[in-house]
Subunit: 284 residues, 4 copies
Amino acid sequence: MAFINSNISPDWLDGLLVGRQDQPEDTIIEIELPDGSDTVLVGDGSLPVMAGPCTLETREQVLETAMAVKHAGAAFFRGGAFKSRTSPYDFSGLRAEGLELLSEVRRVLNMPVVSEIVNAAHLPLFEDVDIIQVGERNMRNAELLTELSHIDKPILLKRSHSATLKELLLSAEYLLAGGNRQVILCERGIRTFEPMTRNTMDISAIPLLKELTHLPVIADPSHATGLPQLIKPMSMAAAVAGADGLMIEVHTCPDEALCDGGQALVPEEFTELMAKLQGITDFR
Amino acid sequence: MAFINSNISPDWLDGLLVGRQDQPEDTIIEIELPDGSDTVLVGDGSLPVMAGPCTLETREQVLETAMAVKHAGAAFFRGGAFKSRTSPYDFSGLRAEGLELLSEVRRVLNMPVVSEIVNAAHLPLFEDVDIIQVGERNMRNAELLTELSHIDKPILLKRSHSATLKELLLSAEYLLAGGNRQVILCERGIRTFEPMTRNTMDISAIPLLKELTHLPVIADPSHATGLPQLIKPMSMAAAVAGADGLMIEVHTCPDEALCDGGQALVPEEFTELMAKLQGITDFR
Amino acid sequence: MAFINSNISPDWLDGLLVGRQDQPEDTIIEIELPDGSDTVLVGDGSLPVMAGPCTLETREQVLETAMAVKHAGAAFFRGGAFKSRTSPYDFSGLRAEGLELLSEVRRVLNMPVVSEIVNAAHLPLFEDVDIIQVGERNMRNAELLTELSHIDKPILLKRSHSATLKELLLSAEYLLAGGNRQVILCERGIRTFEPMTRNTMDISAIPLLKELTHLPVIADPSHATGLPQLIKPMSMAAAVAGADGLMIEVHTCPDEALCDGGQALVPEEFTELMAKLQGITDFR
Amino acid sequence: MAFINSNISPDWLDGLLVGRQDQPEDTIIEIELPDGSDTVLVGDGSLPVMAGPCTLETREQVLETAMAVKHAGAAFFRGGAFKSRTSPYDFSGLRAEGLELLSEVRRVLNMPVVSEIVNAAHLPLFEDVDIIQVGERNMRNAELLTELSHIDKPILLKRSHSATLKELLLSAEYLLAGGNRQVILCERGIRTFEPMTRNTMDISAIPLLKELTHLPVIADPSHATGLPQLIKPMSMAAAVAGADGLMIEVHTCPDEALCDGGQALVPEEFTELMAKLQGITDFR
């Protein structure tokens, strides 16, 4: 796990809680199923998939999609209730109502859920959320990270599209330093000069992060590429490169999505992808 | 193969010879073995590997490495005789003498060879080179591309570290427009703000290029990452993402390499990688 | 003011409050002097300078620096009380105590002050702050912007180091849409591949923003370059390119600064710079 | 001129001919007027302007533009005869015929001329060219640089849109190492994520290069921004930041230009710009 033959010497990692120097063995995060019958593990060598729409829209959409992704084998349902948008005039989510829909999915389908927080003041609403996501826009929001460092729930920390790996790890350090060691990192593409993809997915970040830190690292090819036809190859690529999980956008009707529909898979495509992923972890 | 659900409409591809509109079926490039007993195919769904040192240094190094990579299953031996370097004081290669060493490898091991050209005036020396490489520095050298468009040899065109996919395809178009349709594209990393890797390997470029063009697309994880420990995961990632081949740097003694040694695999690591790649193409 | 001969057509600007379509004439922001005797204008064609340390450290440092920059002609004293830092172990500011020091400067020197907010919950502490700064890390913090859109104080909105001009303007739109039209934009460098400067200062953003929006645009060469010897030429460059003001880091003892000292001017250098700026606005 | 207070230590500059360690005083390049009556200096503190069309098109266009820019005060006429284009189907210049038109301008107007070379084999055609330009695409073409290092003519070396300052200086070192010390560097914009400008003009590169090297540094706001309305402010900015000259695209009829017309000034605008530049060098 050391940087053999490497010309990078990450001195800045010395003494950090996120580093393998502090904890050589992998962090494995356990998420209990809602009915308490079992747990899902992230970071144990398996490849759990978090799937669902970018943004929760209607009860019908949410339940239909959740059933479809559960049937296809997704471990988690993900869906945004609070959205941070570039324009003040874009749809910013169903908010509290969205989290209630997630609660319902969670209970009815016995499926843990993942949702993004944009303001620490909303924390009381996230009681039924199993993994709280910090979006890439908030990766550098030290105030929010500090608040989340004091809670007892796994945090999914997305790499900002302009963050170096060092900066991502220092943001994670805010969480660990405050006492929350249940942190999952997520590569979701960085901003480059290439215009054909929404971002450039930095697949090499996955094995490099796994070398630098004991925290699990998952990948989000939907936001990274913005192109549905790239989700399968990039999911496969992330998996063989060592990802501890995938986050995939699934929408029953991408063309009508209120946010980022263009990049979502329909349930049939998602089912195909899940089948294709069978056995892929043997190759890493 | 169409851009289903996609919000990019590559109008600039209309009418280009590199586009799938002009030729829907994949270009398959045949390279005859030196003894004429068989051919190696690039673009037929297989995963041929080009391996060898970045720079040819001594007869002993060249033969030892070539035997090792052939034994491990490499289809091509690659090695630089003419090197384009950032500083005028860096070693610029054995030049003609290097190409003679390649000739010897080719004949003795019955192995086709790949080497980079930096000046069209050197073309007469490349008679025994099976695939002529245009390095990333020369991807935009229209004069060189035009000269190479008139010859009857496959060209391996590396994406400049600052080129968009559109620009890469327009550079390839120079070759096809001049009459040379045997072109292999190569992703080898783009320049971004991340300092831990030499470049950021754009794995998504592979499936995207395969959608846009009929030309084969290979990947070079050695130059893309600059870190030997990333070569295996990134090779696997490129393979499942659809790469038609890999170019891997192998050096018998990386610490003594005159150029880019830090990023090379030793033969034992390369042998391991080749074993790991067995069966990977079933996953795409 | 139109995009004559231009190949960019900013359709996304249509209907936005930040656009010149909505308000052709420049927004001029008036800040009253603490004693009410006069006002300072931003956006009227003059070049007010905001100067002071990146981070407020001690009462002595603050008063000494404030007197020096006032004497040299600075219109505003700036200093950070709440700092958002990359690492949780870096000094995060004197917080409330820092704002009290600013209050003292403001009252004693009759000088309006500028300071950064990182959390809307701190707003009550900012009563004596004349211009509230949103740092580049929070440019995309929609929650914070929404809170600040409801207050009656000028906001200095810094461009994120990875934000396009469109994204900067949409962040400003959050403020205007919520009712706060006193917004000053600030260019402070973008993240590129060049390692010699901390960021790359995008001087062209200044005239381009001035064309797109009626809001004043200032420039911060200290954070943009990270090199004290570049502050003078880049201040001059920003001024002739149309900047409505400058934000300059000044520290009485840069080597002992707790944050970013390396890029600060000492008071003597600042005085020289202020002299050099005399008459520069005639050249735009 | 030293890196006072600076956290960058350019060790790589040690021993290079381009460095100020080797030659502390500025290199001043003398170009004789065609009739031998006088010389134009580059690097002496003045601000000579090179103006003309990106691409030479017709005799009428060339003469009309040359007269206009000479009348406005341009020191050099620039125009491309050989163009390196992204697509093989774009107009690649009048070639030898273009250079003959330049010769005519040179003789008739007694005005030194600047033109780009793309292939060392064309050198015999450049006898009447006073400054030979290496375009940004060829900045890393070591073969071309080596050939140009052996001639006795000033070389204008443009920074590649993806080159660091270190790489630019190492490319210049190729010229000096081969014996040609008459080298002028040119900043013309780097590739970033911002889409509104063609490139991002790195104004800070100008004072930084002036600190690192004794070679003159000029700036090309036309290619850097791609927007005619930005040429004036960016010319002013480059000038106050220390540029030793400017290269400005002027076209009598930008809308009909065969290449890059959209970014050119018409002669009237150029005349205005030249007037505005009067006295600007006093501010640096």
